[in-house]
Symmetry: C2
Subunit: 111 residues, 2 copies
DNA sequence: ACAATAGTGAAGTAGCTACTTCAGTATCGA
DNA sequence: TCGATACTGAAGTAGCTACTTCACTATTGT
């Protein structure tokens, strides 16, 4: 699984832009062409293609060109890698809080 | 729960930098002072404080100053919000793949 | 009181990001 | 074959990001 810091940089960077998150959101409901991704966004097609390149470089999206249409789809593994990184830190912290709670409960018992 | 796009921008932006992820990682193992966060990083204390401000603005980290020491800790809710956003999109896509699989299995049965 | 510690704040700067426009190429449909 | 469609790529630009250094303030230990 991709734990390469540079890859995580690219993924979180990619998700840091609302237009790109909107694109990912759209793609989570199924594959789409570049124009379909562009349609709800208030920017030039060129700008959308540039966002798409960022998403593709991050590994979050894979694209495939058939004829003149470029079809984009979400890449599950990358999405999981980003989620996993956050999840690990959250769990570490939650476990720590639990231990702290246990400790406080125990010291209270000892009075 | 914080689903505000601007807040998500700030969170993912914050996580897009390896130094800041390292700080979050350190904090997931327990609270720390600014100098403790800075210690493993190859940059000036000033730079670390600037990163810390980014993390605090994103809501991922909360700090509290006592005397001359600023103690930093992770903010569980923000971490959950970022994780949740990714999780929702991943699940949407996975459910879609499942439905697609079911559909293919069914049409195969009909031969 | 004084030195060391812990952090703050401002200014400067190199490099990056998110666009724009415009000019182009390939493919498709009638 | 010809016009519409679906991108593609380059160049330019305003604004942001990740630092740096340096000068500073507040707190603590001796």
């Amino acid at each position: 699984m991709l734990h390469d810091p540079a890859q995580l940089d690219l993924m979180f960077q990619a998700l840091a832009d609302p237009a790109r998150r909107q694109m990912v959101d759209r793609l989570s409901r199924g594959p789409a062409s570049v124009s379909q991704l562009a349609e709800p966004l208030a920017m030039s097609l060129s700008a959308v293609v540039q966002h798409l390149n960022v998403l593709e470089a991050s590994g979050l999206v894979r694209t495939e060109k058939l004829g003149r249409v470029r079809t984009c789809r979400i890449e599950l593994q990358a999405l999981r890698a980003a989620e996993h990184w956050i999840n690990e830190r959250r769990l570490a912290w939650e476990r720590r809080l639990d231990r702290l709670g246990d400790f406080l409960a125990e010291t209270k018992d000892e009075t």
